[in-house]
């Protein structure tokens, strides 16, 4: 397949930028949705030795196709280990063996608190979302958390409607930090969107560190519910390479389910 590296979609840029974040990482817990394709791209590019952990109960997956869901049979065939879900959550995750938890989100706030439960009131929601799945315990126990999501006024909000998974600084309880409360994870460290890359400072708040090619600061500001901190100088994300685009288009997502 010939690939025109000059043209790419915002979603492709987001997936590529998220995959690159996994360079140098060892054990990654793969969340539902966009993380699935980003992590599988990383495994084929910047992180061939990455150990993929799926909450369905697989350590060291070697998926031969992009898993249709996080419970696809392709994550089993050729894997290092199939575990019960109990072992996966208790020994691998809560036991501290997961370096990165890679999550998606419906809503996020500036501190990386994530909502995947409801839009509106919990008891009578306007929109019922899937809920936690494993995200709540991943956000607490993975050594760090990466987030991939599209940003908009509805998703990047001043106040999330429901806190499904805790972000930074984890200080609600009498000012106690994550570490003081005995949590293994230091929380979200990076959020990759269709417009840019955000990292968290010592106060636990995210700031825009890199802008994707084609995106503008104005566009960033108009698609979030708070005034973001913007790095100076602001970085520019390197555009997807022909190799990355070919892998996404020909191998991982030929149907365009994630990238349209």
């Amino acid at each position: 397949m010939s690939v025109d590296a000059g043209t790419f979609t915002k979603s492709e840029m987001m997936i590529v930028a998220a995959a690159r974040e996994l360079a140098g990482q060892h054990v990654c817990f793969v969340g539902v949705g966009l993380p699935n394709i980003a992590v599988n791209l990383a495994k084929r590019t910047v992180a061939p030795d990455l150990e993929l952990v799926y909450e369905a109960g697989v350590f060291g997956a070697r998926p031969a196709r992009l898993p249709l869901s996080i419970g696809d049979p392709t994550i089993v065939t050729g894997a290092t280990a199939v575990t019960s879900m109990f072992e996966l959550f208790a020994f691998y995750l809560q036991g501290g063996l997961v370096d990165v938890g890679f999550l998606g989100a419906a809503q996020i706030d500036r501190f990386g608190n994530i909502n995947t439960t409801v839009i509106g009131e919990y008891g009578a929601p306007a929109t019922r979302l899937p809920g936690s799945g494993g995200a709540c315990e991943i956000a607490i126990n993975a050594r760090e958390v990466f987030v991939i999501m599209r940003q908009s006024k509805r998703s990047f909000v001043e106040r999330i409607d429901f806190r499904t998974s805790p972000g930074n600084p984890g200080g609600d309880v009498a000012g106690a930090t994550r570490a003081e409360q005995g949590w293994l994870g230091r929380g979200p460290s990076v959020v990759v969107t269709d417009l840019g890359i955000y990292r968290f400072d010592d106060s636990g708040e995210m700031g825009l560190e890199s802008l994707h090619p084609g995106a503008t600061v104005e566009e960033v500001r108009s698609t979030m519910g708070w005034e973001p901190r913007i790095a100076d100088p602001l970085g520019m994300t390197v555009a997807p390479t022909a190799v990355e685009l070919r892998l996404i288009r020909a191998e991982l997502d030929p149907g365009g389910a994630y990238t349209k």
């Binding site: 419970g71 019960s84 879900m85 936690s132």
Partner: protein
């Protein structure tokens, strides 16, 4: 299947059809709909399309879960119509009760249920709204003075139903591929129904005891129902029928289309054999995977 569901699933029961994406007993779910069971509490980590169909079929009063979705596709629309404010108000029907945990919380509930313990402790839920949404999730102080963890209560289903590759006639059940929490859910239950692709001789089980996840000791009924997990999958036997999961989305968005589907594919069919026949050989054939046999291990003969 008809007898197993008639005898072992009772109105008002808590029913757990477990299996994480893999080995979901759609055949049992459909039989429960067909027999018009009522007021069930449906427990399952991931309600999936099967609970969407069962809720649409009118069998459920309450849902106990940790992730509510059509995996890889989107939402569960029939269930959402019974939870979201606008459709619930429009229908005038009572909303579906929900009791919600995280995956580890649900797994831990089965572990506590299976182990006869009063709760399961876990490091989750800190600084979230989960304990507010579900007051059964409670913080507890470690008796050894090293901080707070959260507790979830035991889950002891009246009936757990699992699908498996094979069992012998005594119910000794073997599974490979994703194991989910079927073992925990089965040991936690009062009654257990095992549905299998293949009934095998006891000697097949005894030749490979490491693969047994559920002993016949706790099994009340074994049902042989090839292709009984479709449209979910069975490792080594058939793939997930992704087209079905995609097709379910538009069908389930419309209440009339949903009910028409249930009539055509559940109520108007006698059982799974008729369902497989209606599905057609061609469609079934597209779901067969290539081969990837395991190596053979030697257990040794000790006399």
């Amino acid at each position: 299947m008809r007898d197993a569901v008639a005898d072992l699933v009772r109105d008002g029961d808590t029913v757990a059809i477990e299996g994480f994406t893999h080995l979901i007993s759609f055949a049992a779910g459909h039989e429960i709909i067909r027999q018009r069971k009522r007021d069930l509490t449906l427990a399952r980590l991931t309600p999936d399309v099967i609970y969407d169909q069962m809720v649409a079929g009118g069998v459920a009063r309450k849902l106990v879960f940790s992730w509510l979705g059509n995996p890889g596709v989107g939402g569960l629309n029939a269930i959402r119509r019974r939870i979201e404010a606008a459709p619930v108000a429009a229908s005038g029907e009572p909303a579906l009760e929900v009791e919600e945990y995280s995956h580890f919380g649900m797994v831990g509930r089965y572990v506590a249920g299976a182990s006869n313990l009063p709760f399961f402790p876990l490091r989750s839920y800190f600084e979230t709204d989960m304990p507010k949404a579900n007051p059964l999730i409670r913080p507890i102080e470690s008796p050894y003075g090293d901080g707070i963890v959260y507790a979830v209560p035991p889950l002891r289903p009246d009936v757990t139903i699992v699908h498996a590759q094979r069992a012998d006639e005594n119910g000794n059940t073997q599974v490979w591929g994703l194991l989910g929490c079927q073992k925990e859910a089965a040991f936690a239950a009062e009654r257990v129904i095992v549905v299998v692709e293949e009934l095998v001789d006891e000697s097949v089980v005894r030749a490979d005891p490491n693969r047994t996840i559920i002993p016949g000791l706790i099994v009340d009924a074994v049902v042989v129902e090839p292709f009984g997990a479709h449209p979910s999958y069975v490792q080594g036997a058939y793939d997930r029928d992704n087209r079905f999961y995609l097709d379910w989305d538009p069908i389930s968005r419309d209440e009339d289309a949903t009910q028409a589907w249930l009539r055509e594919w559940v109520h108007d069919l006698a059982g799974r054999a008729a369902y497989v026949e209606k599905l057609g050989e061609k469609r079934v054939a597209t779901l067969r995977p290539g081969r990837a046999p395991s190596g053979v291990v030697d257990y040794g003969d000790y006399r």
